[in-house]
């Protein structure tokens, strides 16, 4: 009754307002009132806007955070950022809501007799330092490990590396970027000898065709996809979606081409076959700038503990490469890839036409692949054969999934084999690190130890007795968590977890350290297009939350390495970055100084003489080119990029009688990775409250499965129950199912396989065999 009275009043008020406006328009012809949609906009005059990067994916959008009375209350896109030009996605707009979550970790928690006791942070850090020291004394340096993140800031990654490799002297440092970017890194290194894309996002404004390889950009990199759609509308650019699942990206693309899982290797080779057969090879480019190589085949899949593999590259010539491609005619490949001959020829003709500019995009579809390095190489082959690389609108572009997978994991090098500059196996690189870190060079071991999967296997075996997990949630994100969860729970390993929210990983921790969220501390991130972005602390964190870098420094001091970490609490971000910058001096990787980074909405490296290098290896744009030619692939000693002969090989586990379905996993637009942040944002949780399993409608019909029915998915490793989703968000091919992995209540990674690419050691989350039944 009350409500209808108010409605009536508001209706009358509306009428009154209308009549006033009508009267005005008769009195003042041409008068305009504020847009009806803008009525009642909260005046944001009191908000203080501060720039920074988005906390989520690797696109690296610039954000402006509005703060009021010391609290973050609003977010908008940074119009000055050339990445997103003021646009964000739904995650970005609502990101700051998560820090108000009631179950935020605000104080250190130490496990005592099976329950967590709130502990002053200094006592907790004392405990961590003494445990670490004690473990090293009793079991040696290689019994302690650190597992960090592509979400760690550049200073955090740098301090982790300096502490583990320089001070303690162990290579037991790896990060979750191993699970997402390692194949991209090895792909770049094997083909070009220098990591990270040669182009930049501006390619979108120049390209005629976008080919996305196993990449649902509409949901995973939505801001870039919107830039592509804009070009489609403005210039008629075309989007070709090449994938194993029909997604939003497929429906928005001009052509959707579906292939059988794992056969992307064969299709890429078939495209090269067609390019050569039709004489579309850019001969002068290939002769001047490319060499040909082959590597070992039948490498295995790393399923067994202690698996090791080293590739043995061997130079070949163009004729041998051409001979090898004979097995990959479109007619032969069509038979097992289920891509029609016409579609293969169509793809080849796009790449082959010298008048068309093409950018290839990919992310986890190609990287999380048991032949991830190979498929990266093969796509580079296509661009190298046609000379479509390192030019505005032409080039391969490997996207990343984490805000600083490039900046921290790849550039600082928080991998077991990496140093901030170069690799541990290289004497010169070790000497450089020792000089800048001011440690004896013998301190830095020359042999890589555990990569991510092997690190958690070592925890399970009992080889690692102490592990510090920072800003990541491996017990949701690792493959085959059904093995690694019980492994982490074992008494043999002391587990420290620093995070912002409690997660299934912190559930097994002995000490939980409360971390600051990104706007509660200063830092730097580096995105997919080599853009380094700086931000200042914007708000105070609750309770005793502390920046991760500072926790590392405090522990280092307590372990007796105080001399190596002489940073101040207030200014450590700047001091660390200035020290780190020394590693990358020069035209090939020079980073912008802090004054510039503070002013700009991100700056692309190499930053030479006050200018960003947007297209590397192209003499027109890149001052590091020194061979006098148009292009110079200076990452390789001979200045030539490598075209690799890489065959098609089967996946380690294929559907069979007993386990008849492929299982593919991935993300949805609403949630980011394991959802520890995005699920605590009410807007996102309400739109996507839980995970689900997607079926093809025909498969669902055969199995008699209805939408929403509870389904049990079982593999040789474990099982998981989820509601069925038929013809909703996405549509897997027949014989395939898809499950998003964000849901910690429905752990699909209990089911997945921990097979990985032998070269990059990156696991394949996209392919394993499962059976399904009604639960």
């Amino acid at each position: 009754m009350n409500k209808s009275a108010t409605n009536r009043r508001s209706f009358i008020k509306k009428m009154a307002m209308m009549s006033a406006m009508t009267a005005a328009s008769s009195m003042f012809p041409g008068i305009l009132f504020a847009n009806e949609q803008e009525k009642g906009i909260p005046e944001d005059a009191n908000l203080d806007w501060k720039k920074g990067p988005c906390r989520f994916c690797g696109v690296g959008c610039g954000i402006l955070v509005g703060t009021e009375n010391g609290k973050a209350v609003a977010v908008k896109g940074d119009p000055n950022s050339s990445v997103n030009k003021g646009l964000l996605c739904v995650k970005g707009y609502h990101q700051i809501m998560c820090i108000q979550s009631k179950d935020r970790l605000t104080h250190a928690l130490v496990k005592k007799n099976g329950s967590y006791v709130r502990t002053p942070i200094n006592d907790a850090l004392d405990l961590v330092a003494s445990k670490m020291k004690e473990t090293i004394t009793n079991h040696g340096k290689d019994s302690v490990a650190m597992y960090t993140s592509g979400q760690s800031t550049i200073p955090e990654g740098y301090i982790a590396s300096k502490l583990m490799k320089g001070a303690i002297g162990t290579n037991n440092l790896d990060c979750n970027a191993r699970l997402c970017m390692a194949s991209a890194v090895t792909g770049f290194l094997t083909s070009f000898g220098a990591d990270e894309p040669m182009g930049c996002y501006e390619d979108i404004d120049h390209a005629d065709y976008f080919v996305t390889w196993g990449n649902n950009m509409a949901e995973m990199h939505p801001v870039l996809f919107s830039r592509m759609l804009e070009q489609k509308a403005l210039r008629g650019a075309k989007i070709i979606d090449f994938a194993t699942r029909t997604t939003r990206s497929s429906t928005a693309s001009d052509r959707s081409i579906l292939f059988e899982p794992q056969t992307d290797l064969a299709v890429a080779n078939a495209i090269c076959y067609e390019i050569i057969k039709n004489g579309w090879v850019n001969r002068s480019f290939v002769e001047k700038h490319c060499s040909f190589s082959k590597g070992l085949t039948d490498m295995g899949y790393g399923l067994e503990d202690h698996y090791e593999f080293t590739d043995k590259p061997q130079k070949i010539d163009f004729e041998a490469y051409k001979e090898f491609l004979k097995d990959y005619s479109p007619e032969l490949v069509a038979k097992y890839s289920k891509v029609s001959v016409r579609d293969i020829k169509y793809l080849a003709s796009i790449y082959g036409d010298p008048n068309i500019k093409v950018v290839s995009y990919w992310c986890m579809g190609m990287n999380q692949h048991t032949r991830g390095t190979w498929i990266n190489n093969l796509v580079y082959n296509i661009h190298l054969l046609t000379g479509k690389i390192s030019q505005p609108g032409n080039g391969p572009f490997s996207l990343t999934g984490q805000p600083s997978a490039c900046g921290t994991a790849r550039e600082v090098g928080t991998f077991t084999h990496k140093l901030p500059h170069g690799v541990v196996t290289n004497q010169e690189d070790r000497e450089m690190a020792a000089r800048i870190w001011k440690v004896p060079v013998e301190n830095i071991p020359s042999k890589p130890t555990y990569h991510a999967t092997e690190m958690f296997r070592a925890v399970d075996r009992g080889d690692i007795k102490f592990i510090w997990v920072q800003a990541t949630n491996p017990l949701v994100s690792l493959p085959k968590t059904s093995r690694y969860r019980p492994g982490m729970e074992k008494e043999s390993c002391f587990v420290v977890v620093s995070d912002v929210f409690p997660t299934p990983t912190s559930d097994v921790a002995d000490v939980i350290l409360p971390a600051s969220w990104h706007i509660e501390k200063g830092g730097l991130y580096g995105n997919s297009e080599r853009r380094t972005q700086y931000w200042d602390k914007m708000v105070e964190g609750p309770g005793e939350t502390t920046p991760d870098a500072w926790m590392f420094i405090e522990v280092a001091k307590r372990m007796g390495y105080g001399d190596l970490f002489p940073y101040s609490k207030e200014n450590h971000v700047e001091e660390i970055f200035n020290e780190y910058r020394q590693f990358h001096e020069g035209a090939k990787h020079g980073m912008a100084p802090l004054e510039v980074l503070k002013k700009e909405s991100g700056v692309i490296w190499p930053y030479v003489n006050g200018k960003s290098t947007q297209w590397r290896f192209n003499a027109k744009y890149d001052p590091a080119c020194s061979n006098g030619e148009d292009f110079h692939f200076y990452g390789k000693p001979d200045g030539k990029a490598v075209i690799w002969q890489r065959p098609f090989e089967e996946a380690p586990e294929k559907p069979d009688q007993e386990y008849p379905f492929w299982l593919n996993t991935g993300r949805v637009i609403e949630h980011w990775h394991t959802g520890s942040m995005t699920r605590r944002i009410p807007v996102l949780h309400q739109a996507m409250p839980n995970a689900y399993v997607e079926f093809h409608p025909d498969d669902a019909k055969t199995l008699g499965i209805r939408n929403g029915e509870n389904i049990k998915i079982t593999s040789r490793r474990g099982s998981c129950n989820l509601p069925a989703s038929i013809n909703e968000r996405g549509l897997p091919t027949k014989g395939q199912i898809f499950v998003p992995f964000f849901d910690e209540n429905m752990l699909i990674n209990d089911v997945t396989l921990d097979a990985f690419c032998p070269i990059s050691k990156e696991p394949d989350y996209k392919k394993c065999a499962v059976k399904v039944e009604k639960a």
């Binding site: 009428m15 009154a16 009549s19 006033a20 005005a24 009195m27 041409g30 008068i31 009132f33 504020a34």
Partner: protein, 78 residues
């Protein structure tokens, strides 16, 4: 419970000031014109007496040049 709508003309260049002043009165809803010094104003008051008080308050604002009533409604008391 009277609801009245007015056109309010501000002294030229002081539209923003007038708008803020009116919004601070709480019983007012304001929609500014984009290209003239004119505001559409709706007042909502519980009774005649308060309505008179409010009108006096509005007329006392010194950024206001002219206030003209357009329409008025009164909901029945029950």
């Amino acid at each position: 419970m009277p609801i009245k709508s007015y056109l309010a003309l501000s002294i030229s260049g002081r539209k923003e000031e007038l708008m803020t002043a009116l919004r601070n009165l709480h019983q007012c809803e304001v929609v500014p014109a984009k290209n003239q010094d004119v505001l559409a104003l709706v007042t909502d008051t519980p009774n005649e007496k308060e309505d008179d008080i409010l009108k006096e308050k509005i007329e006392a604002l010194d950024s206001l040049k002219l206030l003209s009533l357009v329409s008025g409604f009164d909901t029945p008391h029950n």
